[in-house]
């Protein structure tokens, strides 16, 4: 048996629905149609009345999920694309994120954001918004990079008593496969060493983990040992694992597909610079997408986002600093 990243997401939802009567899923075209990406394929049939098509109303989708969880449910909201969560933004950052802090009543909702670029997706179907949501207190932001994490982190998202922004990367949906789904996994808030190496640390998350691994493989042929850390969740962010790595390598490169101003890369670098200053033998560097919207044309798109080639080049600079 082989299972894709997308199937893992579907399967996690099936398990959540099966094992917890409080779970339901709400989103556009997710019932009979199984969703724009088929992440809920068949679930409406298997779980009647618990997978509901919503109107095109992202604000109300999120607001209603908050109301439902106050009354004891554990909703999963599917945004058709991460980019459209901008319309539900207010309910996410002001209603859901603050609820527990204001009232003491937890807010266990999961919002799935199909994120990131694909050739031909263009400026409004390619966004990476993890930095936006991480800035707001009260939100948990997950960014699974593997089939295993896509599965186990979504299950954990549903179990957690906090609102979770679950950023699933569309580029990985059908490209990533695993042999089986895990029974257990690291808890959220713990990063993973995706590849060990002693020369330089690359911190990445979501699809960029794979670009980083490709770069590491490339450089391994030249005898360079690159350690790759997969953050898994970007809020909370596991600095300990990063620091332990930088303490060994002395060198740090952060890679993210998001735009360059602020965001995960800046946060990681700022923390390492503050708390691991003495470990650093070279300036900590960052790679992001270019500071423009994501272009539609596939060639432009490929140049807009970080690639393994670019990572290789930057690592070569870094290593000789």
């Amino acid at each position: 048996m082989s299972v894709t990243y997308l199937e893992a997401i579907r399967e996690a939802q099936a398990v959540a629905l099966r094992s917890d009567p409080r779970v339901y899923i709400y989103g556009q075209d997710i019932a009979r149609h199984g969703g724009a990406f088929k992440a809920t394929r068949d679930l409406a049939r298997l779980f009647p009345g618990r997978v509901l098509d919503s109107p095109i109303s992202e604000d109300a989708m999120v607001g209603s999920a908050v109301g439902a969880e106050i009354e004891g449910m554990r909703p999963i909201v599917e945004m058709q694309f991460a980019d459209f969560s901008s319309v539900g933004f207010n309910q996410i950052v002001n209603q859901a994120a603050t609820l527990y802090w204001r009232t003491g009543v937890p807010c266990p909702i999961t919002i799935r954001l199909p994120s990131g670029g694909n050739p031909g997706s263009g400026p409004f179907h390619s966004q990476n918004l993890e930095a936006i949501y991480s800035h707001f207190p009260g939100l948990v932001v997950m960014t699974p990079a593997t089939v295993e994490d896509a599965y186990s982190m979504l299950l954990e998202a549903v179990r957690l008593d906090d609102p979770v922004i679950y950023c699933e990367h569309k580029f990985l949906y059908n490209r990533l496969k695993a042999d089986s789904l895990p029974e257990n996994n690291l808890p959220t808030g713990q990063a993973r060493v995706a590849r060990s190496g002693r020369d330089v640390t690359v911190v990445a998350y979501s699809a960029m983990v794979h670009e980083a691994l490709a770069a590491a493989n490339k450089l391994a042929q030249e005898g360079l040992e690159v350690e790759v850390i997969d953050l898994r969740s970007v809020k909370p962010l596991d600095l300990d694992t990063v620091l332990a790595s930088v303490a060994r390598t002395g060198r740090l490169l952060c890679v993210a597909e998001a735009w360059p101003w602020g965001g995960v890369n800046a946060e990681v670098v700022a923390r390492v610079a503050a708390e691991g200053f003495e470990f650093l033998d070279a300036p900590p560097l960052r790679i992001n997408s270019i500071d423009t919207p994501a272009p539609y044309n596939p060639k432009l798109w490929a140049a807009h986002k970080p690639s393994s080639e670019l990572i290789v080049r930057k690592l070569r600079e870094l290593i000789v600093w």
Partner: protein, 345 residues
Amino acid sequence: MLHTLKEPTREVVPPAFREQYVKAFNWMILARTVEEKLANLWRAGKVAGGVYTGKGQEAVSVAIGLALKPGDLFGPAIRDQAGRLAFGEPLIDAVRTYLGSRLGPMRGRDGNIHRGRLREGTFAMISHLGSLVSVVAGALLARRMRGEQNVVGATSMGDGATSTGAFHEGLNLAAVEKLPLVVVVTNNQYAYSTPNSRQFACHDLVDRAIGYGVEGYSMDGTDLKECLEVVHHAVGRAREGQGPQMIVASCLRLAGHAEHDDASYVDPRLFTSPLGRDCIDVARNYVLEQGWADAETVRQWRENAKAQVEEVALKVQRESGPDPADEDWCAYATRRFATFEASPS
């Protein structure tokens, strides 16, 4: 689909209604009294931020609180002191929340009208207007999914809040799901300083009901009798499974937007128009007319309200405020997540 109960029959008044009316009137007095006290505390510099009162809107608000039953849900708006009390919010909640007390339901974290007791069915609004509509709708959806029958959720808002996308999306969602949601729009002619003419262009906001496929009513918000009847009717329809109900009440905001606002922009003619009637005066006259109480009894009721308010205000002012040093600075229910984020101190 559009019902108007503008001229309900006034002849036969059953004893149960009399009791209801008198109870409502007393809540209205208590609401007015506590808000006057809060305004005084504000003028004395004891309340941070603003004080927002429901002066002139107590009839609409109390009618909501009384039409709901325990187990129902209520998402109040800015001017719902009367409705909150009638639905069961302890009087002390308002005072504690305005004074930022740790003992209040918001523990000093949020203030004034941003309060609620979720476990008792009163939602705590965020400031963003319109955003409770979908929350209450979602709560009703949950109740249905959990197999609970016989529940109603009401939410209240002003004329201005109807211009928000959140209002539209929330009411439409509720209509699609045919949820037992009662939306009460109190058209007090202004949103802060902005008159109806700059807020919407339809003849009456109740004209929106048909476009959502929900039942609509307009009522005189200054007349407690009409308010009790219409809201009771609409809540009943919702409870029976007739789907969302939209009530538009007309009245005038008889105070500034908040205490710091002198409302000099309000068209003075409105104060002498039927919209400008004070619903408490109208209710008092009705009570006297009907012979349900004499002037002395009403005076007694007011004294009683005053005594309650003074006692509560005194008590709260004696309570100590929150101490930042033992504040629990954690926005996460998952406590271990708190340690991950730097919190300078």
